[in-house]
């Protein structure tokens, strides 16, 4: 069983490490968010793939042909990675890129709700992996390649499950549609950035596994929406407690007099 054609990539550097070594994130037990960032739904969370989620598994592919654009696949991916907040429509606040950029292992924050880790990054693609508590458990890969007629094609490819029962309930109630709109908009923005203003985005959705992983129902304990809502509700209470603690501390400890 063979598929073979000369490839432009360099030959393997050695079996032990693999020439893709630098493109992958290193293994970490839990995610660390950069200093100065507060992200309780990301800090200390494990990353999760499509095998760790609760809901049906979906493969969603969005493609846009950049007709008339001269950009190569690597140029498209480089711009996409560098300008991700702008091209995705999330903006700088909605998608906070860490100071070192979107390199393998970097953790980007999503508007304070959750985040993603850069699992893989090379010249022609980059992939995010989600943490516990994110609406989805899985991977999303952004890539570009040359089509048969030498047109550059940009692609976003998701392999995801809803992370827990609550998110799974939300899927037919708008979460699917939100996801589709987000990545269709992104592909249109990428195409427009390279001058292909009229690019149409082709969307293909396949249910890879219609079965739900019921034993993963406990994932709900990390649900970022629930935890964020609880945090918001209890904020006044925590403020009151802190204020009270400071007041009590001031009464018990009279101010010290300087020694003479």
């Amino acid at each position: 069983m063979t598929g073979q054609t000369p490839h432009s990539r360099e030959h393997s550097e050695g079996r032990q490490v693999g020439r893709d070594a630098a493109h992958w994130a290193r293994y970490v037990e839990t995610l660390e968010v950069g200093q100065g960032s507060v992200a309780p739904n990301v800090q200390g969370r494990r990353v999760v793939g499509p095998l760790q989620g609760f809901g049906k598994m979906w493969q969603k592919t969005y493609t846009a042909r950049l007709e008339g654009a001269s950009a190569s696949p690597s140029e498209v991916v480089e711009a996409w990675r560098t300008r991700f907040p702008e091209l995705s429509g999330f903006g700088e606040k909605g998608f906070r890129v860490p100071s070192g950029g979107l390199v393998p292992g970097a953790v980007a924050l999503l508007g304070g709700l959750s985040g993603v880790m850069v699992l893989y990054s090379d010249e022609e693609s980059f992939t995010y992996m989600t943490p516990e508590g994110h609406p989805f458990s899985g991977w999303i890969t952004f890539s570009a390649h040359r089509d048969q007629d030498a047109t550059t094609v940009a692609r976003a490819h998701l392999l995801i499950r809803a992370n827990d029962p609550l998110y799974e309930l939300m899927m037919p109630l708008g979460l699917h549609r939100l996801e589709d709109r987000t990545w269709q908009r992104t592909l249109r923005n990428v195409a427009a950035y390279f001058g292909a203003d009229d690019a149409e985005v082709e969307t293909r959705v396949v249910c890879v596994d219609p079965g739900r992983q019921w034993h993963r129902y406990k994932n709900i304990r990390h649900n970022a929406l629930i935890l964020s809502a609880l945090h918001a509700i209890t904020t006044p209470l925590r403020r009151t407690r802190r204020h009270h603690a400071r007041s009590v501390g001031a009464v018990r400890e009279p101010p010290r007099r300087p020694e003479t």
């Binding site: 598929g3 490490v17 970490v28 890969t141 890539s143 392999l159 890879v208």
Partner: protein, 148 residues
């Protein structure tokens, strides 16, 4: 149209057709194709091994699924992927393994692997594929696990 005209027309058509074939072949050669071979071996009635050599990327999908179809019959209970010849894998390649796993599980089969280098074991770990795909140090161990 007489015979000579017909012959001329057919000759012209053949030339055009051959031109089309040449363009088609050139475009196929420009297209990125799978840089992978997958040979299938039946170890025993219940276990098949797929020897993966080369690159596991999105372009390997057809080769991988064909290999699985060859490796799997009604009696096979375990599919073992031999990764000793794996030279390169990107995130799309990992995605292929997930879709293969789903297909295998649907057939009530197991997916096992051996021959992964330390680098690729780390990748299985960080992508959490090791939660669902057995990783073994040798073919013997994998076959024993598959037969159990």
């Amino acid at each position: 149209m007489d015979a000579e005209d017909l012959h001329g027309s057919l000759h012209a058509l053949r030339g055009e057709f051959e031109g089309v074939l040449l363009i088609s072949r050139e475009r196929r050669e420009d297209m990125p194709q799978a840089q992978v071979t997958m040979d299938v071996r039946k170890v025993n009635e219940g276990v098949s091994v797929i020897d993966v050599k080369g690159e596991l990327t999105a372009f390997a999908e057809g080769v991988l699924m064909d290999a699985y179809s060859q490796a799997s019959d009604g009696r096979v209970r375990a599919i073992i992927l031999n990764f000793e010849g794996l030279e390169y894998m990107n995130s799309s390649g990992i995605g292929l393994l997930v879709t293969l796993l789903i297909r295998i599980n649907r057939e009530k089969q197991q997916l096992l692997t051996y021959g992964l280098s330390e680098h690729y074991r780390n990748i299985f770990q960080i992508t959490r594929l090791d939660d669902a795909i057995g990783i073994y140090d040798s073919e013997e161990e994998a076959v024993r696990a598959g037969a159990a």
